[in-house]
């Protein structure tokens, strides 16, 4: 299986309100990330838009429906479609979430949590190996935000992720906001989480905002990156170095210029962290 080419830069998620700007002018990003499923269609305008954007920017494919943790395995029709898309786009990488979305023919279209057990680890690893075989490339696994933990849990999420990387050769898309949200919801230290992630596997980071629900933080992706997540990002930068970073906004999507400004803030922090690392070495 081919390895992933090293890539670092600052990108944005390509969202429908910004399509025209991405097609008509130079947008100062190093890459764009697209939701794979939005372009796993038969034809029409979406593939044309993606082809045009691909001519201007490297593209990362980010999925929400692989259902990596499903006890009944991955859907062959899904993988086949994703392979077709990957062949068309030649993406930087293909990512999806450490979660399951459905089982036995049902699909919730939500990122449902997994118990961190030996059985779940075996299931996740088998499914990742299957996906990597079909796609003929290693995938990136993203840590989800979660609102539940299970009494069956035998290990922490970061232990589960480290084991998954070791057993499958997959890489990581570390969502810093998700670490923060899950940490607040389940009472773990987000800094301890990041300190235990296998640094050499992290290829990309997500930054986003969240909302406060009645009892839990909710990963709504509808707010600017808050200070607490920026602080965690700075810690992650010191640990992982300058890996590709993306601002993720899925709701209440602001003007592109606002997201570019937010991305510049990530650049500045990465630059500062890079200087620190150089000073320290």
């Amino acid at each position: 299986m081919p390895n992933l080419e090293p890539f670092s830069g600052f990108g944005l998620g390509l969202r429908q309100p910004h399509y025209q700007e991405f097609l008509q002018r130079h947008v100062p990003v190093d890459f764009v990330e697209v939701i794979s499923e939005n372009f796993m269609v038969d034809g029409g305008r979406p593939p044309q838009i993606l082809d045009a954007v691909r001519e201007r920017h490297p593209v990362a494919l980010h999925g929400v429906s692989m259902s990596i943790g499903s006890a009944d395995g991955l859907r062959p029709d899904y993988l086949k479609r994703l392979r077709v898309l990957a062949d068309r786009v030649n993406p930087l990488w293909v990512s999806d979430h450490l979660c399951w979305t459905g089982v036995h023919g049902f699909n919730s279209h939500d990122l449902l949590p997994l118990p961190y057990t030996e059985e779940a680890l075996e299931t996740v690893c088998n499914n990742i190996k299957h996906a990597q075989e079909v796609l003929e490339r290693p995938i990136l696994l993203e840590n989800p935000s979660s609102y539940l933990t299970f009494s069956d849990d035998l290990m922490t999420e970061w232990e589960f992720i480290a084991q998954t990387c070791r057993l499958t050769g997959c890489f990581l898309l570390l969502d810093v906001n998700n670490v923060y949200v899950s940490g607040a919801n389940h009472g773990f230290d987000p800094y301890e989480y990041i300190a235990h992630i296998p640094a050499e596997r992290v290829m990309q980071m997500h930054l986003a905002g969240h909302s406060r629900g009645r009892e839990l933080l909710i990963d709504t992706h509808d707010e600017p990156v808050p200070d607490a997540v920026w602080a965690l990002y700075e810690f992650a930068l010191r640990r992982f170095g300058h890996v590709a970073t993306m601002i993720e906004r899925d709701d209440k999507i602001p003007a592109l210029s606002e997201l570019i400004t937010e991305l510049d803030s990530a650049r500045a922090r990465a630059c500062a962290a890079s200087s620190e690392r150089q000073c320290a070495s």
């Binding site: 034809g43 029409g44 006890a71 939500d110 118990p115 779940a120 933990t149 009494s151 919801n185 629900g213």
Partner: protein, 248 residues
Amino acid sequence: MTLGDLQRALVEHLLTGDRRISERVRPQAGLEVYHHAYRAQLLGCLRDTYERVWAWLGDEAFDRAGACHVELVAPKSWTLNEYGEEFAATLASLYPDDPEVPELAWLDWALRRAFDGPDSTPVDITALDDLDWEAAEFRFAPTLRVGAVVTNSAAIWSALAEDRTPPAVTQLPEPTELLVWRPDLSPRFRTLAPMEAHALKSALAGATFGDICRLHAARSAEDNAVAAAGAMLGLWLRDGFVVGFSAD
């Protein structure tokens, strides 16, 4: 409890609110988050797909109908694009005296499916000179759909799409067919005249152009029939939904 059992139990909670999973998870508030998110996601999908129905019914009535549909129909496909296909049937049962509501839903759905449906290229008219019109069967754009309406729902849909005040609902003098297709990148629809609808449905079932001429002849004088069938064929070719002939 195996992983499969646990996943089935959580699905059961999402679908029915069954709380057997609750003793194995914490915090309990998390169950409510997923229970709510499942419904919110699907309702959002219905709002996105059925934009004109939403505009016609208004927020409250649409969300009530959407919530009803979500309880009736669980998603099966990996793609949200396929969720909501049966929403027109749900609306028909909720609005038995308002046929324009499921008709608007049919139009919303057909146009959405056409939007990212398979590409096709209209047939090259200059390459038809040697075609055996008696034997050649039509091949149509894969996005083409025909649906029956009894109200002016097409006019209502157009007004809503253009942010105009929609006309009042009226019954059409006779049931009519709407045609949806995508010749290039933009889906289109138009109303079919009765004879054209009959001919198109026959062609979809395998009728040749010769067969269609005879359909016209059965309704008018022979000279007029050939001219009428020829005019109709010209319209279909210009509309771009004929993509070939089986004898190509």
